[in-house]
Structures are given as C-alpha cells and as structure tokens.
C-alpha cells in the first residue's frame, strides 16, 4: 500500500474535499452530540429507574428488616420457651423414676444418665458397656431386646417391653424399656433414645398374685385351676410326643375326725405334712395339687413303667403315714389313692380324673382303716357297672317285694325250746336259689338303698311276729341293723309305726347291732338304744369279739343280749384261746347282767361247753338253719331233739 501515496490536491478541489470532510465531521459531531444527549437522557431515565429501584429496595429492605426483626423476636421467644421447656423437662426427668439412655446408631456408642446408673447399681461406664453389648439383660430377655432394638433402628417402631436386668447388687430386677429411633430426612437412623423404669415391685406383686391365683394358700402347692391347666399341658405333650403320664387322686381317710378330735390347726398341719411328703417323692416336672378339703392330686409325667407309679404310691403312703406331733398329740392319717394313666385309662383329662377318682374310692372302700392305692382298670369300671346294675335290681326288688325273710331260731340251751328268731333277708333267684346277702347288702349300702331295705325288713319282721302273736305264739323276732340304719334319727319312729300298725307289743321285736354301730359315738348310740328300749325292744350286740371288743362301753349302754361270734364258738372245743375268750365274754356279760347267745353252734360238744358255762342261748346249724316263716311254728311248739347226724345241714 506504499504505492498508494496521497494524491496532491488542486487547491479548489482540496478546498471542496476539506469542506466535505468538515461537513461530515460537523454532521458526525452533531450526530455524536445527539447520541450523547440521547444517551444522557437514557442515563437520566436509567438513573430515575435506579432511584426508584433503590427506593423500592430500601422499602423492601425495611420490610425485610421488620420481618427479620419479628422473626428474630419469635426465635428469641421460641428459644426462651425451649429453654423453659428443657428446664421443665429436666425437672420432670429428675422427678420421674426413669433412667435415660441412647445409642448412636452409627458407632453403637451408648450414653446413659446418672439416674440409670443408680437404678442399675453400677458405674456409668459399666452400664454403657453392658448396654452396648446387651450383657446387662438376663437370659431370654437378651435375644428379644436385641431383635426389638434392631427392628426399631430399621423402622419407626417403638420398643416397649419388660425385661430382666442383672443389676450391680447381684440380683435380677424387672424394668420396663421404652425406646424410639430418630431418623434424618433421608431416613438414616441417627440415634435410638429411650428410658428404663423400675417395675420390679409391680412384677413381683403380679407374680405373687399369679402364684396366689394358682396355688393353695395353706400348702403352697398347686390349686385346682393350676392342676387343670397342668393336666391339659400333659395331655397336649402326650399327643405330641406319645408321652405317658399318670394322674393320682389322693384322699385322706377320716380327715374330719382329725379336725374334730385335734382341732383345725392340727388338720391344717396334717395337710401340709401330706403335701410336703408328696412333694418329696415326685419329680420337679410333676405336679402336686390340693383340689380342696382333704383331696390332693398328682400328675406324674414321663412314665416308663407301671411299677414306677406303684413305687411312687408306696413311697407316698410310707411318708405320709408317719405321724406328726401337734399340740403334744400324735396325729396321723391313712390315705387312699387312685391312679389313672394316659392313654390307657382315659382319652381326656376329665375322663382320667374321673377314673382315678373311681380307683381312689375303690381303694378307700376296701381299706378304710389303712392306707391303700388302687390302679384303675377297666375291670373296675365293669365292677362299677355291675354294682350299678345290682343296685337297680335291688331297687326293683324292693319295689316288687321280691325279698323275703327267713328266720333262724335261737334256743334256750337249758330247755331246748325256741326263745326267739333272727330275721335274715333272702333274695330268691328265678331258679329257686338265693342271692347271698353278702353279695347284695354291700351294694344296697353303697347305693343308699339300705335304709329302704331295712325299713322293709322291720315292717316285714313286725308283720310276721304279729302273725305268730295272733296265733298265740310269742316268738320274738330279732332284726339286724346296719351301722348306717342305726344312725338314722327316725329309726325309733319306724319301729313305733311298724309295731302300731301290726298291733304288736315291743317285746316281740329285738334289734341286733354290731359294735361299730356304737363305737364311733357312744353318746348318740346310747340315746338311740334308749329310745328303742323305751318301745320295749330287746337290744343285742351281734358278732361280739370280732370288732373292737371294747367291754368298757357295754355297761354304759342299755344292752340285754350279747351274741358271741361264731368264729369263737366254732373253736371252743378245739382251740384253748378261743375257749378262753368265749369264756371271758360269757362271764363278763353275766357280770353286766346281760344274757349270752352263742352263734354258729354246730356240735353237741360246743353246746355242752356252753351249757357248762351257763350260756343262756344258742343258735346255729346244730339247732336249725334259717327257715321260711311257715316252718317256725312247728319248731316252736316242740322241744329240740338232737339229731343223730350232729353236723352242719345244708341251706
């Protein structure tokens, strides 16, 4: 571009060019001034806008400042409220019985309050350590606490459980544990905080209440409710594992007498003695319960052999049989036990208990005056069913008047003349034979039919005596009374009614009672016998020598006749001891003013022996068996002649 040197200008042209340039520059300057003015105006406007903006901003700043001031005031108030609230919270915490703790969910570091350390009787550091590794929780509690805390740290669940803590004193105490986890906005667990409250006293009261609800207050063994529960448990366990278990029902024989004789304190002591001795025999897994009164029950678990159960029963009998000293008296009891074993003896708890009960009653029935146990068997049920059938038959027999009376004569040994008869019940079978009295009398007694039967006998005996009496035959009829019948208050009334109905003097009727009718309550027996004597009835003691043979009561009772039991008479000529006893009985009876009847006389030698000792009367096969009433008048009209056979007759 060096070649492009400025052209030389002619002066006119130069002037023209310069003029044009000047014009352009002037125009440019004006344009620039115009632009500047425009820009100045724009600046002015911009400045105005800025001023307005500044004013708005100032206003906004003022408003914002006011807002901030108000917010700050609120914040200050909130802070003050929070501080007050915190102070109140601290006060509440101090006043409350809660001990506080928290776990850092990330580091698992545990912090706890002084109060908690005091509650646990441990240094703070140790509490934190033991809470951290959960070793402070006792036994089964530990795994549950661990599971619940882990769950609470993973979700927004609240831990609320009762746990057992090994406190510093070495004991274990119950606490209520509450805890909840705090999460950040992302759901991350930050810390778990909670409290322990000492609930040991409440738990102990609850446990005590539970114990009282399930245990017998006197003996501290299980009560019926717990026994029933344990029975259900045993049954369920057996259904699961084929385990065999036995239930024993145990009853004290004549416990009432212990209470009556030695007082309730002695009775209570005896019940505790029995409970403790049963406990000493059975295993921890077994259950011993008092069902009420003098009734106990035992559940024996895991039975392997029947012999084991019997051995347990024998041990219980052995230990419970030992007498205890109470109020300076020796107090003891006999016990009866019945055993039923699952599954052979019952499929349900009620069936097992019922069958054990049946077995117990069987044991008691057989051995009232000593301890015994009986193992349930299905034969027992069969026997019971048979007995039930027998009772029904007896009841029906009474209604249909199937029973009859036979009469065994009693002879005056000096005159060989009948001086009276003993009425003996007979129950004819369809084939003409008789059901022996020892086969149905016990059933009548057990079935509560004996009174009805006895009443029939009394009426029938009176009726027969009256028949003879009307024929001019004075044949007194002696009627046997069972102990049960003898204790009936209306017995004299029954006799009175029967005598009156038959228009029969009382001397034509006698009663024969055994020693055990009077031995239990001498006073009552005396009253009853006096009433009967007042009606004119003759009173005989039957089977004397076989029972208590207590001679001391004889003189206290209005007894006219003593009947020596056949077991002595049968041996008076062969056994010196029997002879001595029979001799003593005769002498004693005479000394008391009573006449003597020898029972079961079968030989002439026996009769001779009796005559020699002034025994007034005798009965037995030597003279006559029991006979139908039609045959008695003939015998009564003649003197007895000894037959040549001189031996027992059939019938």
């Amino acid at each position: 571009m060096k070649d492009l040197a400025p052209k030389k200008l002619e002066s006119d042209e130069e002037i023209l060019i310069l003029k044009r340039q000047l014009e352009r520059q002037k125009s440019a300057r004006k344009q620039a001034e115009s632009i500047l003015e425009e820009k100045s105006y724009e600046l002015y406007q911009a400045n105005q806008s800025l001023q307005e903006l500044i004013a708005q901003l100032d206003k906004r700043v003022d408003e914002r400042t006011q807002e901030l001031t108000a917010a700050k005031n609120l914040s200050d108030k909130a802070a003050q409220d929070l501080e007050k609230s915190n102070k109140r919270f601290e006060l509440v915490l101090a006043a409350s019985e809660a001990g506080l703790w928290e776990i850092n969910c990330e580091t698992l570091e545990v912090r706890c309050s002084e109060r908690l350390a005091n509650m646990f009787h441990l240094p703070l550091k140790e509490v934190a350590e033991q809470l951290s590794n959960l070793s402070i929780f006792v036994g089964e509690t530990r795994s549950e606490v661990k599971a619940r805390l882990n769950k609470a740290m993973a979700s927004e669940t609240t831990v609320n459980l009762e746990c057992e803590i090994a406190v510093g004193t070495g004991a274990a105490r119950w606490f209520k544990l509450n805890a909840r986890t705090h999460f950040d906005t992302n759901g991350k667990a930050l810390w778990l905080a909670g409290a322990f409250i000492d609930i040991n006293e409440r738990v102990e009261i609850a446990v005590s209440a539970q114990h009282m609800a399930t245990h017998d207050n006197l003996t501290n063994i299980a009560n019926r409710a717990l026994f029933n529960k344990k029975m259900e448990e045993a049954l369920e366990a057996s259904l699961r594992s084929s385990e065999v278990f036995s239930v024993i029902i145990l009853d004290l024989n004549a416990f009432k007498e212990v209470n009556d004789e030695h007082g309730h304190q002695a009775g209570d002591q005896l019940l505790r003695h029995v409970a403790n001795n049963i406990l000493s025999v059975v295993k921890n897994t077994d259950t011993v319960a008092r069902l009420g009164g003098d009734e106990f029950a035992i559940i024996l678990r895991g039975i392997k052999t029947a012999a084991y159960v019997q051995a347990i029963c024998e041990q219980i009998i052995h230990r419970c049989g030992k007498k205890i000293t109470c109020n300076e008296a020796q107090v003891g009891t006999y016990i009866s036990m019945g055993v039923a074993t699952y599954p052979n003896d019952g499929a349900t708890t009620s069936e097992l208990i019922r069958n054990a009960d049946l077995a117990m009653y069987h044991a008691k029935k057989n051995k009232i005056s000593e301890s015994a146990f009986h193992v349930f068997s299905h034969e027992l049920v069969a026997n019971i069913q048979q007995a039930r059938a027998m009772r029904l038959a007896i009841k029906e027999g009474i209604e249909k008047q199937d029973f009859i009376l036979h009469y065994q004569p009693k002879y005056n040994v000096e005159t060989n003349r009948i001086l009276g008869v003993e009425a003996l019940i007979r129950w004819p079978r369809a084939d003409g034979s008789y059901t022996p009295p020892d086969e149905f009398i016990p059933h009548a007694e057990e079935g509560g039919l004996i009174n009805e039967l006895s009443e029939w006998i009394i009426n029938e005996g009176c009726k027969q005596a009256a028949r003879w009496f009307r024929q001019g035959l004075e044949i007194p009829v002696a009627i046997n009374l069972s102990p049960l019948q003898f204790t009936e208050q209306n017995l004299p009334d029954i006799f009175y009614d029967a005598l009156r109905r038959n228009n029969l003097p009382g001397r034509m009727i006698g009663v024969e009672i055994t020693e055990n009718c009077v031995i239990e309550d001498l006073h009552r027996a005396n009253h009853q016998l006096s009433m009967l004597r007042a009606l004119g009835l003759e009173v005989s003691i039957d089977d004397f020598g076989t029972g208590y043979s207590s001679l001391s009561y004889l003189h206290q009772l209005p007894i006219q006749v003593i009947k020596i039991d056949r077991s002595f008479i049968g041996q008076v000529t062969d056994n010196p001891e029997s002879a001595t006893i029979a001799d003593a009985i005769i002498k004693l009876s005479h000394s008391l003013g009573a006449t003597v009847v020898a029972e079961g006389v079968e030989t002439e030698e026996q009769l001779a022996w009796l005559k020699e000792r002034k025994c007034e009367a005798a009965q037995g096969y030597y003279f006559s068996p029991a006979l139908p009433p039609a045959k008695i008048p003939t015998l009564a009209s003649v003197t007895f002649q000894a037959s040549s056979k001189n031996s027992r007759q059939a019938g």
């Binding site: 492009l4 310069l18 044009r20 352009r24």
Partner: protein, 184 residues
C-alpha cells in the same frame, strides 16, 4: 456495528491513502449514513463492507490485504481506546482465551445491541492454541489481522497460521497459535 469500527477504518484509510482517496470512497459509495460516523453510534456493517470494497477498487489493493491490515491496526487502537476492558498482566494465550469469556461479556454490558463474533479456544497444550472464529459478518480476514495485531502487542509472542483441519470462509475460520516465548 459499533461506530468505533467505522471511525477507525476511515482514520486508517486516511492515514494510508490520504484524505482525497477517502473522500472519493465516501463520495462514490452508496452509504445510508452518508459516510458520517461517530464512535458512539451504531451503523449497518454493510456500509463498512461497501466502503472496503470501494477502497479496494480505488486503491487497487486486494480486499483481503485491506481487511487484514485494517484488523492489525484496529487491535492497537482498541487496546488504546478501551483499556477498561483489557485484563492486565496477562499471558497472550490467557488474553485470547479471555476475549470470548470476559471482554465480549463486558462489551455486551456497555452495548447491549452489539453483535459480537464467537471465539472458541481449544488448548492443545500450553504452547498450542486452536482458535475458532465465527461471525454473522464476513470479517474472517479482519479477525486474522486483529490476531496479528495481538501478536505485535505481545511482542511477537506467538505465530499465527490458518488451521488445516477446516475449510475457511469469511464467516468461519480456525487459527493455530504457536507460542514462541513466554509473555505477560
């Protein structure tokens, strides 16, 4: 386009070719503004193009040379005229990289209606810079001249060449800048 560009162009033309040539150029070019420019005004860039083409015809100088020379001179003028936009104590590459990200940003604040070219930098390494120019106006040669002016300003701190990789045009072009020495 800002008036400063027109004013500097006329000043350069006058310096190089004299007042007569400039007058002829202005008198013989159809210019809506009438050839009257002030540095604070804004004018259609087509007028500049028309003037450059006319100047090239009058002076018989190749148009690219004219544009490049104009650009080279313009750099120094701009540095003098607008020092407030120039970052101080900068390395030449740092300066070039700052054109798009800083200088043009500041220019736009002053002249919101300015239509500025884009200058994108790819730093191959510390001493090798690829500069991509793009504009709605066909002033690639002016840009080249400006970069040469920049090299002069930084005492020949780098050499400039058109990058091989792309086909240059008046609107878009890439340059390779190789550092020759450290500059500040």
């Amino acid at each position: 386009m800002k008036g400063i560009i027109f004013c500097e162009f006329l000043e350069m033309a006058e310096e190089a070719f004299g007042i007569v040539v400039v007058d002829e150029m202005l008198e013989t070019t159809e210019l809506p503004s009438g050839g009257i420019y002030t540095s604070v005004g804004t004018y259609d860039h087509q007028e500049l193009i028309a003037m450059v083409i006319r100047l090239s015809q009058i002076t018989k100088t190749p148009l690219p040379d004219l544009l490049q020379t104009y650009g080279q001179n313009l750099f120094g003028k701009l540095m003098e005229t607008l020092p407030q936009f120039i970052p101080q104590n900068q390395d030449c590459f740092e300066f070039i990289k700052a054109i798009d990200s800083y200088i043009h940003v500041e220019v736009e604040k002053l002249y919101p209606d300015a239509e500025l070219p884009r200058l994108r930098c790819d730093e191959v390494d510390d001493n090798n810079l690829l500069l991509h120019y793009s504009s709605c106006r066909p002033f690639a040669k002016v840009a080249e001249g400006l970069l040469l002016g920049c090299a002069d300003y930084f005492n020949n701190a780098f050499t400039l060449s058109v990058a091989d990789s792309e086909q240059p045009s008046d609107h878009e072009i890439s340059f390779q800048l190789l550092r020759t020495k450290k500059s500040a």
